[in-house]
């Protein structure tokens, strides 16, 4: 176990070094150097750059003169909130659809669901988000167009997570503010969850089907256990592991999606912040944003790997 952990950490280190090389290249684009480097050659500057990063000095944005790291952390909770809800939706509905399809294998409903998920999987989400806004926000008026909460609620940002802040607010409208924040989260989260939901549904279906072929399921069936029980209790437990493994791929899909979703819904998260930095050629913010987001993805993947090997020791690969 210790050896495996060591290997994982080494991988992490290599990944982070690779990342910082990329962002160092990005930081070289600024008109004035990001940090006051002592060294004159690039190699020396790179190590100084790493040093500054470790001290939490990620530079100052060239437009607004704000500290990049604190700017990132300021925008990050909004993104996390959106991602968490999207993942929740994706898991809930993806698992549901997958199980439903698997239990109706070969029937028209199975085919219909699988076609639907393929449609979801192929959806350009920047278009999908616009369609949803057009229908639900602009035509029907059911959902808000943009933002995290109505401005009638003056919420003191404490954690940066709107849902939490609305709950700990001292003001009398805590409950309706919370509902309002959820209401704002709905459409962006649905947009973002579409592709992961489709993947999870397909994954669940195929892994369930292969589990159901297994010997012990047949044994259980022959023992007279009812079908629903088999699916819920036995099959799903085992099918869940591959779904967890594929989540590593999901996070990169979700991060791509979140950039586009935030752009469409004017969601004040890191994706929108990063895009604005790109359009202003604010390289200090770009390098910080790319580094921090990649760091998040790498850490997330590592955590997932560890979780998977904790749940299922057999996954601890020798190499």
């Amino acid at each position: 176990m210790a050896k495996a952990l060591f290997k994982q950490l080494m991988t992490l280190l290599v990944s982070l070094l690779g990342l910082t090389v990329l962002t160092f290249a990005l930081s070289q684009q600024t008109s004035t150097p990001l940090h006051p480097y002592q060294s004159s050659n690039l190699f020396g500057q790179y190590f100084e750059y790493i040093g500054y990063l470790l001290q939490g000095e990620w530079g100052v944005s060239s437009i607004h003169k704000r500290d990049v790291l604190s700017d990132f952390l300021h925008h990050f909770p909004a993104t996390i909130e959106l991602i968490s809800f999207a993942i929740l939706f994706a898991l809930l509905f993806g698992l549901g659809l997958g199980i439903w399809a698997a239990s109706k294998r070969g029937k028209w409903i199975d085919q219909f669901l699988m076609t639907t998920t393929l449609v979801g999987y192929s959806m350009p989400i920047f278009w999908w988000g616009m369609l949803l806004v057009l229908l639900f926000s602009l035509t029907l008026g059911w959902t808000p167009v943009a933002g995290r909460i109505d401005y009638i609620y003056d919420i003191q940002p404490v954690t940066g997570f709107m849902l939490i802040d609305t709950l700990i607010t001292q003001h009398s409208y805590g409950m309706s503010a919370f509902a309002n924040a959820l209401h704002h989260l709905l459409l962006p989260a649905i947009t973002l969850s579409t592709i992961p939901m489709a993947i999870i549904a397909r994954m669940t279906r195929s892994s369930l089907l292969s589990v159901l072929k297994a010997e012990y399921i047949r044994t259980a069936r022959s023992k007279g256990l009812n079908w629903q029980r088999i699916i819920w209790i036995h099959a799903l437990r085992n099918a869940f592991q591959p779904i967890l493994t594929i989540s590593g791929v999901q996070i990169s899909i979700i991060m791509t999606g979140v950039i586009l979703t935030e752009y469409i819904f004017a969601w004040p998260g890191v994706g929108k912040w990063l895009l604005e930095a790109v359009s202003r050629r604010d390289y200090a913010s770009i390098q910080g944003g790319v580094l921090a987001l990649s760091f998040f993805v790498v850490i997330f993947n590592l955590g997932l790997d560890l979780l998977a090997s904790y749940i299922n020791p057999r996954l601890r690969r020798p190499s």
């Binding site: 690779g18 990005l26 192929s122 350009p124 278009w127 990169s252 586009l260 752009y263």
Partner: protein, 287 residues
């Protein structure tokens, strides 16, 4: 791949209804892209300033002159979508083939490397793979500047690791098989081995990867265009058309729905074809 297994694969493929649907749609899109310039009613850049934002034909205010309506500059939408198909498919082809060429070569080269170096290279590829493609593309575009050529380089770089990964894992899997061992013992050198024995057996995996790369590349190019980092106006590129139409979403929805529909249908058909190919070609999934 023997001719018999090819026949089998074809047989499986042609009985896959959704794959056939995808093939037909894709064929239509390709046909449109090929003959687009000859059937397009107008020059895609020509501005009919008297007919700004004409709705499509089926709308009561539609005009026979513009089958799918016009955009905010009075350009014919049908012509722009046709030219857009040509542009998008051309770009996608270029991107995927360059990425595949580099990726496969790199993947094959890893077979000659020592285990440590190989694992280092693969770690780097894994890192690139785990990063969100759009984030990587944005970072690259940020360094070399927005614009179509740069967006293309970015998408190529994003796609390469997938090909390296697929090639490398397919090769190492084949190399560990008994028949390769036998050939090795026979004294065959590595290059000969790769070309004569391994290559034919990894082609299916690469073909499947190729088709999925088409949809990724198409989507990424469109997304970059949508974000204003790829093709620049007045170029008739689907993603760029979408972003230009954002301002009119409420009152000229056709300028938004139609280019988006074009992207969606193309991606969907490529994915359907890819699914069908995988089912047909991947021996591990053969019933």
């Amino acid at each position: 791949m023997t001719s018999q297994s090819l026949k089998l694969a074809l047989n499986v493929y042609s009985h896959n209804r959704s794959a056939m649907f995808g093939t037909i749609v894709l064929a239509i899109v390709i046909l449109m892209a090929l003959i687009g310039p000859w059937i397009a009613p107008h020059d895609p850049a020509q501005q009919f300033s008297d007919d700004i934002l004409t709705p499509p034909l089926w709308h009561s205010a539609g005009d026979f002159k513009y089958f799918l309506g016009t955009d905010d500059l009075g350009r014919d939408l049908l012509s722009r979508i046709l030219f857009g198909a040509r542009l998008s498919l051309k770009l996608t082809l270029i991107v995927v083939f360059i990425a595949a060429l580099i990726g496969i070569l790199l993947g094959a080269l890893t077979a000659f490397l020592s285990a440590t170096v190989r694992s280092l290279v693969m770690r780097m590829m894994d890192l690139l793979l785990s990063l969100p493609s759009l984030l990587l593309a944005i970072a690259i575009v940020a360094v070399i500047g927005p614009g179509l050529p740069n967006a293309i380089y970015a998408v190529i770089i994003v796609l390469i690791p997938q090909f390296v990964r697929v090639t490398q894992s397919a090769i190492s899997e084949e190399l560990s098989k008994d028949y390769v061992m036998a050939a090795k013992l026979d004294g065959a050198n590595r290059t000969r081995l790769l070309f004569n024995h391994v290559w034919p057996n990894i082609v299916p995996a690469i073909i499947v990867q190729l088709t999925f790369s088409f949809s990724t590349a198409l989507l990424d190019i469109a997304a970059l265009g949508f974000l204003g980092l790829g093709a620049q106006p007045p170029m008739a590129e689907w993603g760029t058309m979408l972003s230009e139409s954002r301002a009119f979403i409420q009152f000229a929805p056709w300028t938004m729905t139609l280019p988006g529909l074009a992207i969606f249908l193309t991606v969907l058909s490529i994915n359907l074809v890819g699914d069908g190919l995988r089912d047909a070609l991947d021996p591990r999934l053969n019933r």
